[in-house]
Amino acid sequence: MTEISAGTLFFAAIFTNNILLTNFLGLCPYLSISRDYKAALGLGGAVVFVMTFTAGINHLVYHQVLAPMNLEHFRYIVFIIVIAAFVQLVEMAVERYLPALYFVLGIFLPLITVNCAILGASLFMVIRAYTFTQAVVYGAGSGIGWMLAIGIVGAIREKIQKTSQLPPGLEGPGITLIITGVLSLAFMVFSGMIQIQ
C-alpha cells in the first residue's frame, strides 16, 4: 500500500472511505451528540484530535514495541490502553492549561475514550500496513471525515427539530439512522475516485 500518496490517502479517508459512513464505526456518540450542530462539531473536533495522535502513537507502539517482540496478537488490548491513557492525559492537560479549548472539546474527551472509530482507525492502519506518515494522515483524515459526517447530520437534525414534526416512532435515533443511510448512499458517489482497501 506504500504507493498511495499522503494527499490521496487524506482525501480518501475523508470522502471515499469515510469511517462513519462506509464502515459505520463510532455510532454511539454520533447518535447521542448529533442533536445540535455546535455540540456535534465540538465532539468532531475532539475525535480529529484524538484519532490523529493515537494513530501515530499506536503506529509507533505496534512497529517499535509489539512487532519486534512478536506480540502482535496483543494489539487490541494495547491499543485500547494507549488510547484511554492518552485521552485522560490530554483531558487533564487541556483542563489545566487551555481552559478555552477545554470548554469547546474537553467535556467530549471522556466520551470518545471507547469510541470504536478511534480503535478502528488504529486497526485499519495496521491491517493496511501504513507507514508512520500514512498512519498519521489517515488518522487525521478519518477524524475529519467523522467530524464532517456528524456535522452534516447535526445540522440536518437541528433543522428538522425547528421546522417539522416527526412521527413519534422516528424521533431521535430513528430519524438519525435514516439520514445516515441516505448520506451514506450519497458518499458512495465518491467511491469510484480512489480505492484504498
Binding site: 514495541v65 506480540l71 496483543f74 490502553i81 491513557a85 485522560q88 492525559l89 492537560a93 467535556i107
Partner: protein, 363 residues
C-alpha cells in the same frame, strides 16, 4: 511469558504517566470559597463545588449524587466558576444564566469562588443514624426506619420533604453513594424517620438497602430538602401516588390528622397487584379515624388470586372518572415522571390551574 511482561510493563508505564500527571497537572492547590460573602472555606482545588461545600457541612440538595442529571444543586456562583459548561446548559433557563445560577456539581473549584447559598440550606445538616428496623413492605419495596437524634438537637422537617441517604462503598460501587428519599413518617415524631425504598435494577443505593443493609448499621443522612409540602388553603386536597411515591403523602396525612385539618382529603394510590399495595391496612385505619379522608387504591394489573373488589386501572383513570370539570382543589402528585406528567396534563384539561398542582418526581 514475555508477552505478559511487555503488556504489563506498558500498562505500568502509562499508569505511572497518569499518576505523575495527576500529581502535577491536576493539582490546583488550596482554594478559597466565600459563601454568602461571609464564610471563607479553604478546600483542595479541582473538586466539584457541590462536594467542596459538603466537606464543610454545607449540603445543597442533590438527588443524582453529583452526576449532573437532576439539577437540584443549583446555586448562584458570583465569581470563579469559569464559563457555563455544555453539561449545564440543558438545565439552566435564560433567567438562570442572567442570575449566574450554575449546576454546582459541574463547577470545579480551580480558583477563588464566591457562591450564594440560601439561608435555609445552611441549616441542612448531616446526621449519623442507626437503622432501627427494616421491613419488606412488598417484594420490591423496603421500609427503612432510622433512629434520629433527640428532637432537641433540631432535626425538623415539613411533611413531604426528603433527605439524602448515603451508603458506604460496597462491591458494586467505587465509593460512598447517595440518593434522595422522601420522609414517610410523621413530622411531629422526628426522632424516628421512615424511608420507603424501592429496588431499582442496578441502582447503587437501593441495591445496598435491599441486599446489604442490616438493623443496627449506621448510615449518613443529610437534610431536610425540598419544597413539596402541604400549602395552607381552604380547598379540598387530592393526593396522587404510585409506588414509593406514597412516602411523602403518608407524612402529609399524619400532619393532616394531628393538626385536625378539616379539608376534605382524597388519596389515589396506584399499584400493580394487591401485593404491591403497601400500607393498605394502615391507610384503611386512618380512613376510619378521619371522616374527611377517602382512600382510593387502584390496581393496574390485579393478579388472579387477589380477590380485588376495588378500583382497577391506572390513577389517570380515577382522575378521569372521579374529578369533575373545573374542580376546585389542591393536588399533590408523587411518583414516576411519566405518571406525574400524564396526571398533570389530565388535571389541566379538567381546568385545575397549574399553580394548584404540586409534584415530586422520582426519577
Amino acid at each position: 511469558m514475555l508477552g505478559v511482561l511487555a503488556v504489563s510493563g506498558l500498562g505500568a508505564f502509562l499508569a505511572l504517566l497518569l499518576e505523575i500527571a495527576d500529581t502535577y497537572i491536576a493539582d490546583y492547590g488550596e482554594q478559597h470559597i466565600f459563601v454568602n460573602g461571609e464564610r471563607d472555606l479553604v478546600v483542595q482545588g479541582g473538586k466539584p463545588l457541590l462536594f467542596a461545600l459538603g466537606e464543610h457541612g454545607i449540603y445543597l440538595p442533590s438527588a443524582c449524587g453529583g452526576k449532573g442529571t437532576c439539577a437540584y444543586c443549583k446555586a448562584r456562583v458570583l465569581e470563579g466558576g469559569g464559563p457555563v459548561l455544555p453539561t449545564e446548559t440543558p438545565y439552566l433557563s435564560s433567567q438562570d444564566l442572567e442570575n449566574h445560577i450554575r449546576i454546582t456539581c459541574q463547577v470545579k473549584v480551580k480558583e477563588t469562588v464566591r457562591v450564594e447559598v440560601p439561608d435555609e440550606l445552611l441549616n441542612v445538616r448531616q446526621y449519623h443514624v442507626r437503622v432501627l428496623a427494616l421491613e419488606n413492605l412488598t417484594p420490591h419495596i423496603r421500609l427503612v426506619r432510622l433512629q434520629m437524634p433527640a428532637a432537641s438537637e433540631g432535626f425538623r422537617f415539613k411533611p413531604g420533604q426528603y433527605v439524602q441517604l448515603e451508603v458506604p462503598k460496597y462491591k458494586s460501587t467505587s465509593g460512598p453513594e447517595f440518593r434522595a428519599y422522601s420522609i414517610a413518617s410523621a413530622s411531629h415524631e422526628p426522632e424516628v424517620l421512615d424511608l420507603v425504598i424501592g429496588r431499582v435494577e442496578g441502582g447503587a443505593v437501593s441495591t445496598y438497602v435491599h441486599d446489604y443493609l442490616k438493623t443496627g448499621d449506621v448510615v449518613n443522612i443529610r437534610g431536610p430538602f425540598g419544597d413539596f409540602w402541604l400549602r395552607d388553603s381552604e380547598r379540598p386536597v387530592l393526593l396522587i401516588a404510585t409506588g414509593t411515591g406514597l412516602a411523602p403523602l403518608r407524612s402529609m396525612l399524619f400532619q393532616i390528622e394531628r393538626d385536625r385539618i378539616a379539608r376534605s382529603v382524597t388519596l389515589f394510590f396506584g399499584a400493580r397487584t394487591r401485593d404491591d399495595l403497601f400500607f393498605f391496612e394502615e391507610l384503611r385505619e386512618v380512613e376510619k379515624r378521619l371522616p374527611n379522608f377517602h382512600f382510593v387504591p387502584t390496581l393496574s394489573r390485579p393478579a388472579q388470586g387477589d380477590a380485588w373488589e376495588g378500583e382497577v386501572g391506572r390513577v389517570t383513570r380515577l382522575i378521569d372518572e372521579q374529578i369533575p370539570e373545573g374542580a376546585q382543589m389542591d393536588v399533590y402528585i408523587c411518583g414516576a415522571p411519566e405518571m406525574v406528567q400524564s396526571c398533570m396534563e389530565l388535571l389541566e384539561k379538567k381546568g385545575v390551574p397549574s399553580d394548584r398542582i404540586l409534584f415530586d418526581m422520582f426519577a
